[in-house]
């Protein structure tokens, strides 16, 4: 009896496996899939990203889809896979995507999935000794610096934090000439926050003549910041830079308000320029300046934001990359002349990879994105600050 029920359960799961990965056989469609965390504590990234992607593909399809090598048109089909921000699951999801007729994948959202995931891809193209997976991945959200270098099959459209913060501190130096000292706050156990403070913000601030007067560290789920804030209060910094995600950023900002620490300038982490910070602590976050690669500053960006909102998502610096990736892929596919048949699947994937590798610039919502040889991007950006319940552009270096 119990054996029977077990076997039944096994068969159900096996058939579910087979069903969900069964290829669609319809004519004239190509598949581009997204993956990332769309459930769990960081699920919001995947949800927004998925919404942005499907809105973008809808727009492309409405405009006629993409052109294949023989001149015929094809529609784009898409799907979003949840990896729950777990490395093993992310790898499994990518292998599953590669086993279908998908041409390219957009994702993942978590840096801790991206790093192992890129590790299982082939490091150098045409390296016969490397048996890594050969599948193009075009990352939208996972932002931790320098990851695309791991594999030549990886391309990223995430903003270059090094460039953004370098410019930000140059701008602060100019705008607030009497600001001399800086104090850093970093969420020590989160790879992205940590990397951004030690390798990006700190370097940029020191390069522009700010004197580092102290650093405060805390952990991802800390709830008490009084010790850290006290150190900050004594140092009386002119600039405070917080490299942390919204939950602890808010906690720290509250503690700073409580201890009456009022720096002239407050700088935040790129990822915090989202709705989360404002929903968590709009009052304390007032005025915090963050560089971001997306803000609805022109008509195209506004239209995109509306289309994504209609899909139930929000367009922010992360999900805007998903939208841009969809648009870039359309252009790459049109130029590469893919066949779009099951027999040419591997060749098509390779063409897309080569097409992405050959790009030197790409069209983005805020203007031209520069494509770097290592697969990274340098995107245009603006500086926003929290005003009331919204992010407002405080400076636009591009204009």
């Amino acid at each position: 009896m119990k054996l029977k029920s077990l076997i039944t359960a096994g068969m159900i799961s096996a058939s579910a496996l087979a069903l969900s990965s069964a290829a669609f056989a319809a004519d004239k469609t190509v598949r581009i899939v997204g993956f990332g965390a769309s459930s769990g504590v960081v699920g919001i990234f995947g949800q927004n990203s998925g919404a942005a992607m499907s809105a973008a593909f809808e727009k492309i399809n409405a405009e006629g889809g993409i052109t294949l090598a023989d001149g015929s048109k094809a529609m784009i089909e898409t799907e979003y896979y949840d990896d729950r921000c777990n490395a093993e699951e992310g790898i499994s999801v990518l292998r599953r995507i590669a086993s279908t007729d998908a041409l390219v994948a957009i994702g993942p959202t978590c840096s801790n999935v991206a790093e192992p995931l890129f590790g299982i891809l082939q490091a150098k193209v045409d390296d016969a000794g490397d048996t890594g997976l050969q599948f193009p991945v075009f990352t939208d959200v996972a932002i931790k610096g320098g990851l695309a270098g791991i594999s030549e099959w990886v391309f990223r459209n995430t903003p270059s934090e090094a460039k953004m913060y370098d410019d930000l501190f140059a701008w602060i130096r100019e705008t607030y000439p009497d600001a001399k000292t800086i104090y850093g706050g970093v969420e020590e156990d989160f790879a992205h926050s940590r990397f951004t403070w030690y390798s990006v913000m700190k370097t940029a601030a020191e390069a522009h003549g700010f004197e580092l007067v102290g650093e405060a560290q805390w952990l991802l789920n800390d709830t008490n910041f009084s010790n850290q804030a006290r150190g900050m209060r004594r140092a009386e910094p002119d600039v405070v830079a917080i490299s942390a995600h919204p939950f602890t950023s808010c906690g720290m900002l509250r503690e700073m308000a409580r201890q009456k620490i009022q720096p002239k300038v407050l700088v935040g982490l790129t990822s915090s320029s989202s709705l989360e910070t404002l929903s968590g602590c709009a009052n304390e976050a007032q005025g915090i300046i963050i560089p971001t690669s997306f803000a609805p500053v022109n008509d195209e960006a506004k239209a995109a934001a509306e289309a994504v909102a209609a899909k139930g998502g929000a367009l922010d610096l992360h999900s805007a990359a998903a939208w841009e990736n969809a648009m870039i892929l359309r252009d790459v596919i049109n130029a590469a002349g893919i066949e779009g048949t099951p027999d040419t699947l591997e060749a098509d994937r390779r063409k897309i990879r080569d097409g992405l590798a050959a790009l030197t610039t790409a069209h983005g919502l805020l203007g031209e994105n520069k494509r770097m040889p290592d697969g990274e991007a340098v995107k245009p950006y603006v500086f926003v600050h929290a005003q009331g319940n919204a992010w407002e552009v405080v400076h636009n270096p591009g204009s």
């Binding site: 459930s39 769990g40 504590v41 960081v42 699920g43 919001i44 949800q47 020590e188 156990d189 560290q217 805390w218 952990l219 991802l220 789920n221 800390d222 709830t223 008490n224 009084s226 010790n227 850290q228 006290r230 004594r234 919204p246 939950f247 808010c250 906690g251 509250r254 409580r258 201890q259 709705l275 989360e276 929903s279 968590g280 602590c281 709009a282």
Partner: protein
Amino acid sequence: MDYFFIIDFVQSLADGLLFGTTYALIGIGFTLIFGVMRKLNLAYGAAALAGTYVGLGLFLTFNAPPFVVFLASAIGAGLIGLVVYYCCFRFTPEAHPMASLLASVGMLLFLEEMMTHVSHGMPHPYPSVLSGATLELGDIWIRGDLLFVFGICVVAMALLFWLLYRTPLGLATRAVSQQPRAAQLCGIDSARVNALTFVIAGVLGGTAGAMTAAAVGILSPIIATGLTVKGLIVVVIGGLGSIPGAIIGGLLVGAAENIFLLLRGVTERDIYVMLLLFLFLTLRPGGLFGSAATRD
């Protein structure tokens, strides 16, 4: 020793002790359930936080005043505690403690995902009182909201003592925790007592969750694991089944955490807390107030 260091030390100690009362409440909840059922409820921290989200829901939809929010959090957690009891403990056989342990793990995962599903994983503001006020004693600043948190936690503990030692229900609870079979022979419905214990523990947990959220000012599902782990540590330091032990344990953990943070920095803080706990356990397995010879 310079002046700043002494100030920092005293300040860390004060903050830690005040914050430690929330740990103490969570610890009491674990200890109550363990004392009565001899079983570990790993879903407890998550249930407490889920209750806190009930209060938050009231705050966000009706803009309810802080005290209503706190009360709703506590009652919500009590009800969720009851659900946990029925889903994980009521129908799993006594003889298989592993079954209820794992069921409570499943519940923990479910509740956590439920909270992120509802809140989209976003942090939300949680109301607090006296958050602007500070009591300045020279260079030592005592946060008004932490004093409030401390006060509420003390009141909750006092109510619990009254309930356990001055009411028939408390008598029944203590009877079941000492000798379940004998209590049953005396006509005490142990299933009912168990269920009520889960509600009481839930209410305490909800209070702790509400006070943690009020002290931080924001609520996010990511603090569930922290609550669970801290609660377990507190129970063990205090001694299984000992309520005064859980109180002392909570204060100790709160203080030790802040002191190690001050002395060794944040990345090493938890190593020392865990090391202390590990030594404590192996050198004094019964905890502060427990007898070393308790059966498990």
